[in-house]
Amino acid sequence: MTDLLTERQQLSYIAAKAADARLNVELETEGMTLNIGPQHPATHGTLRIIVRLDGEQVVWAEPSCGYMHRGYEKLSEVRTYPQVTTLVNRIDWLGSFANEVPFILAAERLMEVEAPPRAQWIRTILFELSRIANVTLFLGDLGVQLGAVTPVFFAFRDREHVLNLIESVTGGRFHPNFDRIGGLKDDLPKGFIDECRLGMRKIRNFCDEIEDLLIGNEIFQARTRGVGIIPREVALQYGLSGPNIRASGVDWDLRRDQVLPMAWDKVDWRVWTHPDGDSFARCWVRLQETREATKIVDQLLDGLPSGPIMAKVPRIIKVPAGEAWVSTENPLGEMGYYVVSKGDLGPFRVKIRSASFNNISVVPWVLRGVYVPDIITILASLYFILGDIDR
């Protein structure tokens, strides 16, 4: 265009072209680009997944995360260790005690102090309670994503028992802030052991109910079997962890494979895997893990040692200089903290390896060629928490 257009004319020309392009994209059923999110009932938070559809099949998909980035790693640079412990609760807000543990263990490793046995056992109990709280919500939410409105109410109803237990010990339902370098903040209140046993019985009942209502339902199985198969090699390459990788047949559980000052090696439990790698396998593995977690808690309650819950640490904690990496088997997967300390009151740098960030990296691969309703099934079965992805 050699003649000089005014700016206004240029702008209206561009706008008209864009409107045409939009209209073409929308009216044709080929190559329709659909934005799932960031405001959408299906995604567990503000996640945006851009899919390109051909009719009802996905041709290309990409997750676009970062809508919930809160800058934990940067915030940690200007906070002391107790303050970082508080912040870190909020990464995976459903299984919140589990977030504190690897951080505290890393700091304890740098300080070369170990928590007394009673503290280790209680830490493990609370860790498994967080796992139960997290995964029961998954089981309920799974129903909602697939259209069954009732399981989610059962999930919240029975999760209350676990949250009440956590609240009676720590004072907070969702953000316990209970782990301290060297042990725990407080001991268990009277009556906790009996209440906990009762709570575990109720969770086991809930698992049975969910199995009857949802997992054993033929419609559910028709929706999830064979959908979103992630083969073993792909799962290993993409760095999946937690129940997602165990559902693809990989026998990988950090509770058993690592030596940490926690009490998992003191009790008898098994790791659940499933060879299929489809959505049903992921759901099934999580259901079994919840049941296993209740058994772990029962055994821990039986053998709880007595003693102090805090090691001898100075009042004002300055962690010696050094670097430490600790990762644990969190409810969502493998969560790890790389703590770099320069001998101050607070860490110099904390790198958080969160499970959902890696779990969601497999989404472009697994969503190729699936139908639109299956997108939701697969995302629901992968189970990520936005706070965990974005930190």
């Binding site: 028709a222 929706r223 309703p373």
Partner: protein, 349 residues
């Protein structure tokens, strides 16, 4: 019913229209309160709405008021005239449907000789309304919902029709009143203690009909068009306020009306077995049956609505290709087999 006063034609028509409106709105309201608010909540270990009125009985009034006072929005690029028309089409089909339902020996709105045929034909009008709603919303999600709805509703029309054919063969007439009377007067193997409700002999047809009704109403497990967690609200996404209220009322009114039709076809409608009172045909039925008939029909409707709602709250949803496969490869052959067997028995006995 013989009245002392001769009502002019316009008066009768007015009664009929009012009766039709009442017959649609009362089941809708009762089903929404008893099943949606209360039964669903009780199945989920909670109490449901309790604040508006005693035990939440006025919740529906509050909801209607809430929707009425909302802003009447429409997307800018929507096709406005069709956008506004779509909910009315869906509600229209419900009102037309209830016109064929007999409530008592003389309490009917119209008494078509081909009542069943009319009812099935008119129930398909709602498909048009849904398609139009999905298209005119200028929203990708609504379009997807509308397309899914079109495929599903058309696919499940066939099992619906085929299931009723078994009843028609057995009763020997398409007139709804005749079907009711046949169930009241016939006997099973010579014993007429409970008449002959077709749910016993047409059990397969009953199941197929109820499943097809669940799909026609886009209720879970067949609610792909409104898959809430994927398409937000499917074809209803862009509707708010009064227009959404019309969709909502239409959905539950249609649940009620289809339950009415199902209870007429399979449970004996407004009749109790005639042998209890010694009547032999329609003419001998007492006049008080015109008052008791609607109540009996209402009770049967509530039983069937309970079944529909119970399944609705318990199951996840089908994917639409599984849904289609289920209809075409399972329900239709089953319904056809049912017709063949019914015909054989009708001729042989």
């Amino acid at each position: 019913m013989m009245l002392a006063v001769e009502i002019p034609y316009w008066g009768q028509s007015l009664f009929r229209v009012l009766g039709g409106i009442v017959a649609v709105l009362i089941p809708a309201g009762t089903i929404v309160y008893v099943f949606l608010f209360k039964m669903m909540s009780f199945m989920q270990s909670r109490l449901g709405p309790m604040e508006a009125g005693p035990y939440g009985s006025l919740q529906l009034v509050a909801e209607v008021g809430k929707w009425l006072q909302k802003e009447d929005t429409a997307p800018e690029r929507a096709d406005h005239s069709i956008f506004k028309l779509a909910p009315l089409i869906v509600l229209l089909s419900t009102f037309l449907l209830v016109a064929a339902v007999p409530f008592g020996p003389d309490a009917w709105i119209t008494n078509f000789q081909a009542g069943v045929f009319y009812a099935l034909a008119v129930s398909s009008i709602s498909v048009l309304g849904i398609l139009v709603a999905g298209w005119s919303s200028a929203n990708k999600y609504s379009l997807l919902g509308g397309l899914r709805a079109a495929g599903q509703l058309i696919a499940y029309e066939l099992p619906l029709v085929l299931a009723t054919l078994g009843v028609v063969i057995q009763a020997g007439s398409m007139n709804m009143q005749d079907i009711v009377v046949a169930q009241g007067t016939e006997s099973i193997f010579g014993w007429d203690g409970i008449g002959n409700p077709y749910v016993l002999t047409q059990f397969v047809g009953f199941l197929v009909f109820m499943i097809a009704v669940q799909a026609e109403l886009t209720q879970p497990p067949f609610d792909m068009p409104i898959a809430e967690s994927e398409l937000v609200s499917g074809y209803m996404t862009e509707y708010s306020g009064f227009r959404f209220l019309i969709f909502f009322i239409a959905e539950f009114a249609t649940v009620g009306v289809f339950s009415l039709i199902a209870s007429i076809l399979f449970l004996g409608g407004w009749s109790v077995p005639f042998s209890w009172f010694g009547w032999d045909s329609l003419d001998e039925v007492a006049d008080w049956m015109n008052l008791a008939g609607p109540l009996i029909l209402f009770t049967k409707m509530m039983v069937l609505s309970f079944l529909i709602m119970w399944v609705r709250f318990s199951f996840p949803r089908f994917r639409e290709d599984q849904l289609q496969r289920f209809a075409w490869k399972f329900l239709i052959p089953l319904a056809l087999a049912n017709i063949v067997i019914t015909a054989i028995f009708k001729v042989a006995m």
